[in-house]
């Protein structure tokens, strides 16, 4: 066989993993009607074609994990609601993202947000009591530092313990 042939080899690897969950299993009944991509706002602007994602996942095409398309979804759940086969399309995409992350495909921009959370407890942190946001809070007659994890160091400790417990740092290649 010529080396440069780009032929698809079907595998049920991904669909089998998805089918562990009763809800996600519904992906197997996809009839490729195109409803999900028709209502997908992202599909109007980006290369995301949810219908194709479903097909690729079923066919076991590796590009479904390695490609950026699954990350173009804004999780608006339009596809989830409208799928005539009641496939939870959004949840399938989220699960595929989980699988992609496991294989090391994590968009760089997300790594910062993960760092924020694992260091401060907030995905969007205040940036310290002297930041401009703290000043804005003061201006609005609110406590300079909000009564969230920012005000409670012990809560942050708790967070670290839990992160260790689920071995998050070991599992997620964001650093």
């Amino acid at each position: 066989m010529p080396q440069n042939q780009k032929l698809l080899k079907y595998s049920s690897e991904y669909s089998d993993e998805l089918s562990v969950d009763d809800e996600l299993k519904k992906i197997r009944s996809c009839i490729q009607c195109g409803m999900c991509s028709a209502v997908c706002p992202s599909g109007s602007f980006t290369a995301l074609v949810t219908r194709k994602i479903m097909r690729k996942a079923l066919a076991g095409d590796h590009s479904v994990l390695s490609g950026p398309e699954i990350w173009y979804c804004s999780t608006c759940f339009n596809c989830y609601e409208r799928c005539p086969r009641t496939i939870p399309v959004t949840n399938v995409i989220l699960k595929l993202r989980n699988m992609a992350v496991r294989e090391g495909y994590l968009p760089d921009a997300l790594k910062n947000v993960i760092k924020n959370l694992t260091n401060t407890g907030h995905a969007v942190p205040l940036g310290g009591p002297d930041s401009k946001w703290a000043k804005l809070r003061e201006y609005h007659k609110l406590k300079k530092v909000p009564p969230t994890v920012h005000s409670f160091p012990e809560a942050l400790d708790e967070l670290f313990t839990l992160l260790d417990k689920i071995k998050f740092n070991a599992r997620i290649p964001y650093r």
């Binding site: 409803m35 028709a38 599909g43 005539p84």
Partner: protein, 660 residues
């Protein structure tokens, strides 16, 4: 004659059912097991017990005189009980010395992966069947005379054809709810794939039905009550008052002309108008007028106008009692209402129509006399789109999982009609799969694309938006190109699903017919008894059974007519001898059973002071048996001993003990 009851000699036959059972349940193991059940003298297995060879196997053993009772462990008794009973009958054994153990539907098929579990169930079911058959008693089927008249409910194309077929031999009562016969087909303009004018085919048949001396046409009538005596159904029909005496009415139409009330015409799907005194459409049968009392203001202008004095506001509903031998249910279908599918904007945007509305617009007898116009500005649309599978093939609540079978074809038909009328227009059909499976259908589809230039776009529409001028923006995705599209059209037609009648449950209750999961009536067997219901003598045909097109509906009508004929022809019918009997020597005369019987089959004999059950009237439900405080009543074939022996045959603790 020996006083001692001879020991039953039971033979057990286990069916492989091809691989349906044998793949899950080990045939050798269960056969060996069966041999050790008390009373069993032989146990065999065979690939297909229901085949001729399988039946011969039983016949040979019966002839040999070694056995006298038969258990077949195979499919459901609802499927083949009759087959095996015939074998016994033909070999001069009483056919009720037979029991069927259901090891397919209730064991192998529901435990495809749990082989041990399926085996346990199968063993228990065989054991129960042996226990029951050992206590079986010979029974004789009673015969009842069958009334040589038929009732057909619903006078659409199915009901009409069934009526015409039967009327050559029998008196037929054809009951229709609306003021005219003809059903949905009368509303259609043309029919696929031949493009015949629907009215040209239907109306002559309607006239034939109207004139046939053997057809008693009861339009504007509804079933009031049914007494389900097999072979002699007693039916009450309410003939609703039309306020017009049909014997006198000439159908001249003067009353309609003077009537001041204008209401939307249901026949035109509320797009045209009619008066309160009306015929739904000019070719209606009967052609006489009806006064719609809901909308009538009783101004009585029509009374003065009618030259033959046919109008009678004192006319009352009439109850007609019928006695018929067989019943054909052909109540037809409803059409899915897509107004809850907000994304398509039906009833929100003026120019979104459903297909039956488009059909009336296209029809030369429709409200616009065949001119297609946009509801928004009454101009002819230039670009129209059809969306398929609206309400079909959809798993959400309120919609239907099944394919409605006809939508692909009627959409192509309407698209072609539209193109014929307006060759400059553009037509889009948005589909998931084009299902054009019938004779001449695929060719019809191909010509639509090649000769008519209809654009077929694979991919559902996601959203529809309305422009200020009433035109519509359709957004969807072309699944073959993997591109999203936005198309502007003047009108969007939704190819809506066929669904079961909303009041089908009422009909089912009247006639004791069952539903399938999809809401349509259930046939006795999906392949072998497609027009029989589970109730003897009652048949189902047309779209009340499942979505289907006209050729199929007519075929079913003829099948049902032939089945009904077959049923009535011999003049008598055998009924199951499952009726109950009172043992007068035990009966204490408490009369508690008399009140309980829903069929008034139990009478009380004052002279002997005991109850007595009329075997013909008794349907064999067994309510009286269960309630008799003296245990004086027995139900044939389901005696107390038999059921208790089945329960005792089960040894629930066996596994439990083994485990400990």
């Amino acid at each position: 004659m020996s006083l001692e009851k001879p020991k039953p000699r039971v033979a057990v036959y286990i069916c492989h059912c091809g691989k349906n059972i044998a793949d899950v349940i080990d045939m050798d193991e269960i056969t060996e097991y069966a041999k050790h059940i008390p009373n069993v003298v032989s146990a065999k297995n065979y690939k297909f017990m229901c085949s001729n060879a399988g039946q011969d196997l039983i016949a040979e053993d019966l002839k040999s005189g070694k056995i006298d009772r038969v258990v077949v462990a195979a499919c459901s008794p609802l499927m083949h009980e009759e087959t095996y009973r015939r074998v016994l009958r033909e070999n001069n054994f009483n056919e009720f010395f037979f029991e069927q153990a259901n090891i397919r539907e209730h064991a192998s098929w529901v435990n495809l992966r749990d082989h041990k579990g399926a085996m346990d169930i199968a063993k228990d079911h065989v054991k129960m069947a042996v226990a029951k058959v050992s206590n079986d008693r010979p029974l004789i089927r009673q015969k009842v005379k069958v009334t040589q008249e038929a009732l057909i409910v619903g006078a659409g194309i199915t009901g009409m054809f069934a009526a015409l077929d039967l009327a050559n031999k029998y008196k037929v009562h054809l009951v229709e709810r609306t003021p005219t016969i003809g059903g949905h087909m009368a509303q259609l303009d043309k029919t696929f794939p031949t493009m015949d004018c629907s009215a040209c085919i239907t109306t002559p048949k309607m006239v034939e039905v109207g004139r046939h001396p053997n057809i008693n046409l009861l339009t504007y009538s509804e079933i009031e009550n049914v007494d389900l005596n097999v072979g002699n159904f007693e039916v009450q029909v309410r003939k609703k008052s039309r306020r017009i005496n049909h014997l006198i009415c000439t159908g001249c139409g003067t009353c309609g002309e003077v009537c001041p009330i204008t209401v939307p015409n249901e026949f035109d799907y509320n797009m045209g108008y009619r008066r309160a005194a009306y015929v739904p459409f000019p070719q209606a049968i009967p052609a006489q007028y009806t006064i719609d009392i809901k909308n009538c203001i009783e101004c009585k202008l029509c009374v003065d106008a009618c030259e033959v004095n046919a109008i009678d506001f004192n006319q009352e509903d009439e109850i007609i009692d019928l006695k018929v031998g067989s019943i054909i249910i052909a109540t037809g279908n409803d059409i899915f209402d897509p107004s809850t599918l907000y994304c398509y904007g039906y009833q929100k945007y003026k120019n979104v129509l459903i297909a039956i509305e488009m059909e009336r617009l296209l029809s030369s007898t429709g409200p616009t006399l065949g001119k297609v116009i946009k509801p928004s500005d009454h101009k002819t649309p230039k670009r129209i789109g059809f969306l398929q599978c609206v309400g079909s093939r959809d798993f959400h609540e309120g919609t239907h999982k099944y394919c409605s079978r006809v939508c692909c074809m009627y959409a192509i038909k309407q698209a072609r009609q539209f193109k014929e009328k307006y060759p400059d227009s553009e037509v889009f059909i948005f589909y998931i799969d084009m299902r054009t499976f019938g004779k001449g259908y695929e060719e019809f589809y191909e010509i639509a694309a090649r000769e008519y230039g209809i654009n077929f776009i694979r991919g559902r529409i996601g959203d529809v938006f309305e422009n200020n001028d009433g035109s519509l923006i359709i957004r969807g995705s072309d699944t073959l190109l993997a591109e999203k599209y936005e198309i502007e059209v003047d009108m969007l037609i939704l190819s809506t699903a066929i669904e079961a009648r909303k009041d089908a449950d009422e009909v089912s209750r009247f006639f004791g017919v069952q539903f399938s999961e999809d809401g349509f009536f259930m046939e006795a067997h999906p392949k072998l008894k497609p027009v029989d219901s589970l109730s003897t003598g009652i048949f189902i045909a047309g779209t009340c059974q499942a979505p289907r097109d006209i050729p199929d509906a007519v075929a079913q009508a003829k099948a049902a007519a032939s089945s009904a004929d077959n049923f009535m022809f011999s003049g008598e019918v055998e009924i199951e001898p499952y009726y109950s009997m009172v043992q007068p020597e035990i009966c204490s005369g408490c009369r508690s059973c008399v009140q309980l019987c829903p069929y008034d089959a139990i009478s009380f004999d004052e002279t002997t002071n005991t109850a007595d059950i009329n075997a013909i009237k008794c349907k064999g439900c067994g309510v009286c048996v269960a309630s008799c405080p003296s245990n004086a009543i027995i139900q044939n074939h389901f005696t107390r001993n038999q059921i208790l022996s089945e329960v005792r045959a089960l040894k629930p603790w066996e596994n439990y003990i083994k485990e400990n």
